[in-house]
């Protein structure tokens, strides 16, 4: 039973990663592509960490390190996505702030 659960979690994480890569390849611009790093950095690491926990037990060195890895990916990915989107926008428009036409829509 434990092996089945582990396999389901590992296959789930792998399928999510492969679908994320496919989505990233098919998207048109960097902003669209950034969306596909989300599932790859949240669902897959959590699934793999859960698989290690189920396989090894919750208070083993492997489980703690895999949870730490998943936590790092989940937390830091949001920061990285924001930094990348910010860089893309500054590169495209020259500044991070609202453009005049965007400001007109807000006001």
């Amino acid at each position: 039973m434990t092996e089945v659960v582990v396999w389901i979690l590992v296959v789930l994480g792998t399928v999510v990663q492969v679908l994320s890569v496919l989505g990233l390849l098919l998207a048109r611009d960097p902003y669209d592509r950034l969306h596909f790093t989300g599932p790859a950095s949240t669902i897959a690491p959590v699934a793999f960490a859960l698989a290690v926990i189920v396989d090894e037990g919750p208070v083993t060195q492997a489980a703690v390190k895999s949870v730490l890895t998943a936590l790092a990916l989940v937390v830091l990915n949001g920061v990285l996505v924001h930094a990348t989107a910010r860089a893309a926008r500054i590169r495209e428009h020259g500044s991070w702030g609202l453009l005049p036409e965007e400001r007109a829509g807000v006001d």
């Binding site: 990663q17 990233l24 611009d29 960097p30 895999s66 730490l68 890895t69 990348t84 590169r91």
Partner: protein, 78 residues
């Protein structure tokens, strides 16, 4: 087997990094860092070697730092 599938999925990302515009390449690099980290995690568990888990932890943090540095420099200077 799943680690091999994930490793294979790195190939299109490498092609994207080489061929696509620079910001698209940066997004592909970010995802590649995540995939490499997870491959290390799977290999550590598959081979039952504890030190490999440390590599996964370090890879998670360093791929973030690398992506952040690239994003910062690609904003204006590169």
């Amino acid at each position: 087997m799943c680690a091999a599938v994930l490793l294979a999925s790195l190939a299109p990302l490498i092609v994207l990094c080489a061929r696509a515009p620079v910001m698209d390449g940066l997004v592909a690099l970010n995802l590649a860092g995540t995939i490499v980290t997870l491959v290390l995690l799977l290999l550590a568990q598959g081979t039952h070697r504890q030190p490999f888990f440390d590599l996964a932890v370090v890879s998670a943090v360093l791929s973030f730092a690398g992506g952040l540095a690239f994003a910062r420099f690609l904003e204006r200077w590169v």
